[in-house]
């Protein structure tokens, strides 16, 4: 007679109590797995969104990360085409790469000359085809619908702006932006702008054809590489919500060539970052190590650094940490409930079976055998609870994933399908199941110890 066989029969002896205990454990497992699957999905979504926008790694001027946003033009990478060529053809890196593309960040003032309004903006120039390829990155198979950039197929003078920029620059009507109220009071008419800026804008506006009716244009003023103001007139092709209001109120996106002309004029064009996107996030350590190796050899003497997306976007780590803390809190809470539920069940079993314990001890079962018997019952409860819980969680997650519910995550403009990622999350499932089994065994240990320590004569006398 194996101990586990006897333990199983003892569990079946009081079925109602065993089922109640199992129900508590199953609910615990389902809760942890559904929460875990939901959190995991959010993290994967955030990672996908981040990697699709800024890649896994960026090669920058070594001081750009700390000081460059204040003066992007001064922290550029001049030999960026050579760097891209070497990286793209490196035998170690090439198999891991999906996209290597340059970007130029810039800040400035966008103005709607016709309406006499302006505001500070931040954005950058990109290679549209590369960005469209980056936006297809979806290593976790999430139900994202990624449309190409609105700059796709547009001329060099095209620009996209955040809906907040469109609102402030009073371009909503021309761009067909919904839910975009106009200010009650008319803005001050241009007199407050410095005379030299007004002159530059006037000069720029004369270089472009007259604005056709219904077309939206802005003038983008930025500091060039020599510190002097430069301005360019751009055709706004679309206003897009950027998800976060602060970003939405500042964003401009334009073609790299135009951005480079604005910042560097006739000088050698530079970029502020070379974005490296990999096939899988897990390749970051290997890719980063190789880039560091290249930096120390091939690019020796060039002031470059390599940053990963977690460093570039601290929000990602903050979200991961926050969800990790919530998940841990939920898991500990449920673990405590399971601990006391199983402990209570086993304590009751020990009391009810005191005479049986005395009998087993009398006929020769060692104290260790009694301990194994009750711990075995806890182990079986844990195993059955974990198994049923995992199956139930998989079923529930399937139902949720096929329910058609949607939600809008923080930092996103559009709703996405509500998704709970349990299937395929081996570490989450195994970790939860193993944790439950361990908690069940621990909670059975104390009653088992008390049972084994019982005096045989007293146990036999128990009524």
């Amino acid at each position: 007679m194996k101990t586990l066989s006897l333990a199983l029969r003892n569990l079946l002896r009081n079925r109602r109590r065993s089922i109640t205990t199992l129900a508590a454990m199953v609910i615990g497992v389902v809760t942890i797995l559904i929460f875990g699957g939901y959190f995991r999905n959010i993290i994967y979504g955030l990672e996908t969104q981040t990697v699709a926008q800024i890649g896994h790694l960026q090669i920058q001027h070594k001081d750009y990360f700390l000081y460059g946003t204040g003066n992007p033009a001064a922290y550029g990478v001049p030999e960026y085409r050579r760097v891209i060529d070497i990286v793209a053809h490196d035998p170690v890196l090439a198999p891991m790469l999906t996209v290597v593309t340059p970007t130029l960040s810039l800040g400035g003032i966008a103005g709607n000359f016709a309406a006499g309004v302006s505001r500070t903006v931040f954005g950058g120039g990109v290679v549209v085809e590369d960005q469209n390829r980056m936006r297809q990155w979806n290593a976790y198979g999430l139900p994202f619908i990624r449309r190409p950039l609105a700059l796709t197929g547009t001329g060099d003078d095209a620009v996209i702006i955040g809906t907040g920029v469109a609102r402030v620059l009073q371009l909503c009507r021309a761009l067909g932006v919904a839910d975009c109220p106009q200010p009650d009071t008319a803005p001050a008419q241009g007199a407050s702008a410095p005379a030299d800026v007004i002159a530059l804008s006037m000069q720029e506006s004369k270089q472009v054809p007259a604005t056709p009716a219904g077309e939206a244009r802005i003038e983008l003023l930025a500091s060039n590489v020599h510190g002097a103001p430069n301005v360019t007139s751009l055709r706004v092709v679309k206003a897009e919500s950027q998800g976060v209001k602060e970003f939405d109120d500042m964003y401009v996106g334009l073609h790299l060539s135009r951005a480079q002309r604005l910042v560097y004029g006739g000088d050698t064009p530079q970029v502020t970052a070379i974005v490296v996107q990999l096939a899988h996030t897990g390749q970051i350590p290997a890719a980063k190590a190789r880039l560091e190796e290249l930096r120390a050899t091939t690019f020796k003497g060039e002031p470059l650094s390599v940053q990963d997306f977690r460093t570039l976007n601290p929000f990602y780590n903050q979200v991961v940490t926050m969800f990790g803390a919530i998940f841990t809190f939920v898991a500990v809470l449920i673990g405590a409930i399971v601990l006391f539920t199983v402990g209570n069940t086993m304590t009751m079993a020990v009391v009810e079976r005191t005479t049986e314990i005395g009998t087993l001890r009398a006929i020769g079962l060692r104290r260790g055998g009694i301990r194994r018997l009750f711990v075995g019952e806890g182990l079986l409860l844990g195993l059955i609870g974990a198994l049923v819980g995992v199956v139930a969680a998989l079923g529930l997650s399937w139902l949720i994933n096929h329910s058609g519910l949607t939600w809008t995550p923080p930092g996103q403009a559009n709703p996405i399908p509500l998704s709970v990622r349990v299937w395929g999350e081996g570490a989450l499932i195994l970790g939860t199941a193993a944790g439950l089994v361990v908690v069940a065994v621990i909670s059975a240990w104390w009653p088992a110890r008390r049972a084994a320590a019982k005096n045989i004569v007293d146990a036999l006398r128990h009524v």
């Binding site: 007679m1 029969r9 005479t355 005395g358 009998t359 006929i363 020769g364 060692r366 045989i456």
Partner: protein, 235 residues
């Protein structure tokens, strides 16, 4: 050589502020292969005496030798192993494991005594045949009458082929007819297997069937009757 030897064995229970002597300087030798009955009024110490002999209770002092082993020198685990191999127990309330079948109940002590599977099977079948329950092997104890349960308990006690079987009031929960049948069965099994049986009992049927009778009162041996096979009695 005696199957059990007690020398100057004493045991006192401490109940709150009161000390209750259960055994007082007991000297007792139990002959092997005999049907020995310990009798006495309630509270006389006979169950305590049986517990000490069965190695499930320790005396405060004195020497206990069972099957040639000084049992007070053994650790708890060693005592468990010793009981599993050398002592069988029959309880007043049968104390069968309710989740095991009749077959499994009889087999269980042999697992503790590490008897191999083939031998276990042979012994269980033979014992169930002997106690007349071969057709109940797959039944659970809850499906049996009191007499049948006690038969299973007898088979269980004898399964590991112990040298000593202890029975505490084995007929107390049975009607007189069933009790008589059980006594007859135990007597028969004891003779066939030459096992030493020690009973605690008030039952006159048990007393009449005994080879040796030990009377205990207030924790002291009052009288020992040793009946020879021919019917002679020695005090």
């Amino acid at each position: 050589m005696h199957i059990v030897t007690l020398s100057q064995v004493a045991k006192t229970y401490h109940l709150d502020a009161v000390d209750v002597p259960a055994l007082v300087d007991i000297d007792l030798e139990i002959r092997p292969g005999r049907f020995t009955v310990v009798s006495g009024p309630s509270g006389s110490g006979k169950t305590t005496l049986l517990n000490v002999i069965g190695c499930i209770d320790q005396p405060d002092r004195g020497e206990v030798i069972v099957a040639g082993q000084h049992v007070r020198q053994l650790s708890d685990d060693a005592l468990s192993d010793f009981r599993a191999r050398h002592i069988g127990f029959i309880f007043q309330n049968f104390n069968l494991l309710p989740v095991l079948t009749v077959y499994e109940n009889v087999e269980y002590p042999m697992l503790l005594a590490r008897v191999n599977a083939r031998e276990r099977r042979r012994r269980v079948e033979a014992l169930l045949e002997s106690v007349g329950l071969a057709d109940k092997a797959t039944n659970l104890p809850g499906q049996l009458s009191g007499g049948q349960r006690q038969r299973v308990a007898i088979a269980r006690a004898l399964a590991p082929m112990p040298q000593l079987v202890l029975a505490d009031e084995p007929t107390a929960n049975l009607d007189s007819h069933t009790g008589a049948t059980i006594i007859a069965l135990m007597r028969q099994m004891q003779r066939e297997r030459e096992v030493s049986f020690v009973f605690c009992s008030h039952d006159v049927q048990v007393l009449a069937a005994a080879d040796d009778a030990v009377t205990i009162r207030d924790g002291r041996i009052e009288k020992i009757e040793r009946r020879e096979p021919q019917g002679a009695v020695t005090a």
